[in-house]
Symmetry: C2
Subunit: 186 residues, 2 copies
């Protein structure tokens, strides 16, 4: 966060940047337009971020728009269902599509997107430590692999195969991650 | 496939298109350069594909470079491991990165990429019907969900989190898909 800026003001700038990116795409986005919508002077923005990519990267990792609370429902199944539900909403938001479309060939944005997902996963780790404490997960289980499965399946299904994720799909996904697809598990 | 063109000649054109895309990126790719490398006249290419995007889309869905054989190892675990191994190689190839980077904002390429993955999954369906016949999968299990999990986890892990997928990761991934991550499965 830039020094001397209130967190609320910074959030207004991030919101303006993501909204304008969604409306006009990367090529149509300018620092001037972000300044105008956020009600700050463009020289102020240039003092904090030296380029459009730097500002966008900061918005991707820091915007409250892309934030969601860590799940704590009392069971691993409930928590994973909550994570999957929120993630499916995030992945289908126009702002997310606009960010992902802008990533290829822009290292700062690619790095910010990676940092965003890594950060999300780190914040979700209590889901797994609580599950180990309740005996729902083995102590040596790999939380990152669970996230690869859950987030990856949603990503592939929603963004690559053009599918949709209703409650039934999300429940089947979480149950498959928990108990596997093999007929021999019973 | 264009009428009047031998399949070998068409493959040479697709190879030239994907190689040049990998070397120069989308903006640096021209129909002229593809024609020159494939040893055909550029008017021939324009007769078959009206634009660079149309030719690239045809290459994505039709090139033998992006093809791999359907697994048939005798067990579901072996087959899934083979699919995961080949998919992880495909996803980390420079040509794949070049295609995926060119997709955003280009509907023909997005459609071709979706068709490529959907087509791959359709060709892998014998893996699941054989597993049902061997009693390794329930008859009502959802092959598409298995593919979402396997392909999605690899996609997320390799392309979004910048991870690598060695034999140990691939084995853990397949075992998690088969038997789940829950400690209560035992």
């Amino acid at each position: 966060m830039p020094t001397g800026a209130g967190p609320r003001r910074v959030q207004e700038i991030f919101t303006a940047a993501l909204d304008l990116l969604t409306e006009h795409g990367y090529d149509g986005l300018t620092i001037e337009a972000i300044a105008q919508r956020a009600g700050v002077h463009k020289t102020t923005l240039y003092r904090w971020w030296s380029s459009k990519d730097e500002l966008l990267a900061a918005a991707v990792t820091g915007s409250a728009l892309l934030e969601f609370p860590v799940a704590d429902t009392g069971s691993l199944r409930g928590d994973l269902l909550a994570v999957a539900t929120r993630l499916s909403r995030l992945l289908t938001r126009p702002a997310t599509a606009a960010v992902l479309a802008a990533v290829p060939g822009r290292p700062l944005l690619a790095e910010a997107t990676n940092a965003f997902f890594t950060g999300r996963l780190t914040r979700d780790h209590p889901v797994f430590t609580r599950a180990v404490e309740r005996g729902e997960l083995a102590a040596d289980s790999d939380a990152d692999l669970v996230v690869d499965l859950l987030a990856g399946a949603l990503w592939f299904h929603l963004l690559l195969c053009g599918g949709s994720a209703d409650r039934r799909y999300l429940a089947r996904l979480v149950d498959s991650v928990l108990t596997g697809v093999s007929a021999r598990r019973a």
